[in-house]
């Protein structure tokens, strides 16, 4: 089943064309890794799908609900009504590079607040579910702590639990390990891998090539606002067709080796 379909997305900031005719399709249970150099538009693509930015042209459909489409007659994009956009929003979960936990809420409340006040779940039920999520994240003992008391890696796992608490249909990760020390990224990657084994549909923007290769079913390589190449990890990492991809991967793995 098609969970996300983004077609021919264009986005410009002033004179800068950040996304140039980008398309991205995600099926149920698929793990898609979006890789590419900084400034290639990966994060912007995620932000457009998550309604943080509006697109200039193209169309996006999420779980069968049309979020935005291009109106030929008006010659501009038309977004769905507020109610539909809100429903779409709840289908999508997002994990940010900087976690963006709510500092004034305990770990538990960070996770339960949305289920309680957005979905109207009884607090007890939300707390019970949050505790299950926390134990999955290996953070059972942190429920009553505040975000500042946790390491970056722990905060990021809380933010994954927070997103999962709303049972999103697709979970997006915007460079989830970029703000972390290398020794802390392991735990995050293990959590994402466990989610993949549960067939969680995920789109991961990442700089961790080895991880992308291991966990993703589909790799999208972006550069300068276009999808240069996409395919299975095998195809993109071991038999890249495009010279741009080859150069990028070569430089990446050389840096790692050096």
């Amino acid at each position: 089943m098609r969970m996300l379909s983004a077609r021919n997305i264009c986005k410009r900031f002033g004179d800068a064309e950040v996304l140039r005719d980008i398309s991205l399709e995600v099926d149920q249970g698929q793990v898609v890794a979006v890789i590419g150099p900084s400034g290639s538009g990966k994060s912007t693509l995620l932000r457009c799908i998550n309604q943080f930015e509006t697109i200039d042209s193209g169309e996006i459909t999420v779980c069968g609900k049309k979020m935005v489409s291009f109106d030929e007659r008006l010659q501009r994009t038309v977004y769905a009504d507020k109610d539909t956009l809100r429903k779409i929003r709840l289908d999508l979960g997002m994990v940010f590079q900087n976690y963006n936990l709510f500092p004034h809420f305990s770990v538990l409340r960070n996770i339960t607040e949305a289920p309680v006040s957005v979905l109207g779940k009884p607090r007890r039920e939300a707390e019970a579910e949050a505790k299950v999520l926390l134990s999955k994240m290996g953070l059972s003992d942190k429920a009553e702590q505040y975000p500042y008391q946790l390491s970056g890696g722990q905060q990021q796992r809380v933010s994954i639990a927070r997103a999962m608490a709303l049972s999103p249909k697709i979970l997006f990760f915007d460079e989830p390990t970029s703000a972390l020390d290398p020794e802390l990224t392991g735990a995050i990657l293990r959590v994402i891998r466990a989610l993949a084994q549960e067939h969680m549909t995920m789109v991961i923007v990442t700089h961790e090539m080895a991880f992308a290769r291991d966990v993703a079913d589909h790799i999208v390589f972006m550069d300068e606002g276009v999808v240069v190449e996409s395919g299975t990890p095998e195809e993109v990492f071991f038999r890249p067709k495009e010279e741009r991809t080859q150069r990028f991967l070569q430089r990446y793995f050389e840096d790692r080796a050096g």
């Binding site: 929003r89 979960g93 997002m94 957005v118 979905l119 997103a163 709303l166």
Partner: protein, 219 residues
């Protein structure tokens, strides 16, 4: 010529009465000014220039002219401009103080609001919080923590500024002290008034210390 001996019991009871008036100004100014300041901060930060520009002009005028002048304006303006005589001295005092202090509060709130990272709004949005929920559950509690230190300054200044109400002949504590001082050729009423202001501000200061401590559970 010797003025009559000061009757301290009477002086103190008069000044307590004046203190009550000062406290009324203090409390009502906060009651009106604090929420009004928040609304003004919202207007000041609005993307719509039709809203933000007038608010900006308002903040400039209220912060850029003396509170004393504003007191006179709200006392006599309604009559001179509109022929309206219904405004009481107390009414004029409250209007002038509230409008003036709201302007300062607005800028403090704005500083607090702008210091909240945009990621907080984005996280709240992805979790499906409405704009109202985001503001009241996520943003405002964090703003409150950040504005406490500058608000402490404003509250203390307000305690002392209540003395200005006497310029439009509203009898508050300082007015009582001044009359007692000239009636008795004595500086003692001023010292008593000073002690009262000092005591009030010591209490205000302690309240802010307590509030800061209470919100110390997170960073």
């Amino acid at each position: 010529m010797h003025a009559a001996e000061i009757n301290y019991a009477i002086l103190l009871s008069d000044m307590m009465e004046g203190l009550l008036s000062s406290l009324q100004i203090f409390a009502l100014t906060l009651l009106i000014g604090l929420p009004l300041g928040l609304v003004l901060a919202g207007g000041r930060m609005s993307r719509h220039r039709v809203i933000s520009l007038p608010v900006q002009a308002y903040l400039l005028v209220m912060r850029g002219t003396p509170l004393m002048l504003q007191l006179f304006f709200f006392m006599y303006g309604p009559y001179y401009i509109l022929g309206y005589t219904g405004i009481s001295r107390f009414g004029a005092v409250i209007v002038a103080f509230s409008l003036n202090y709201a302007a300062y509060f607005a800028e403090i709130y704005r500083g607090g609001l702008e210091s909240i990272p945009v990621g907080q709004y984005e996280a709240a949005a992805t979790l499906g919080f409405t704009k109202g929920q985001t503001f009241f559950k996520i943003i405002l509690p964090q703003v409150v923590k950040r504005v406490i230190p500058p608000m402490g300054n404003e509250f203390m200044t307000l305690v002392k500024d209540t003395a200005l109400a006497r310029v439009i002949a509203f009898s508050e504590m300082f007015d009582v002290a001044q009359k007692a001082a000239s009636g008795h050729n004595s500086v003692i009423p001023f010292i008593v008034a000073g002690a009262f202001y000092l005591a009030m501000n010591a209490i205000v200061g302690q309240c802010f210390v307590a509030a800061e401590k209470k919100l110390d559970y997170y960073r």
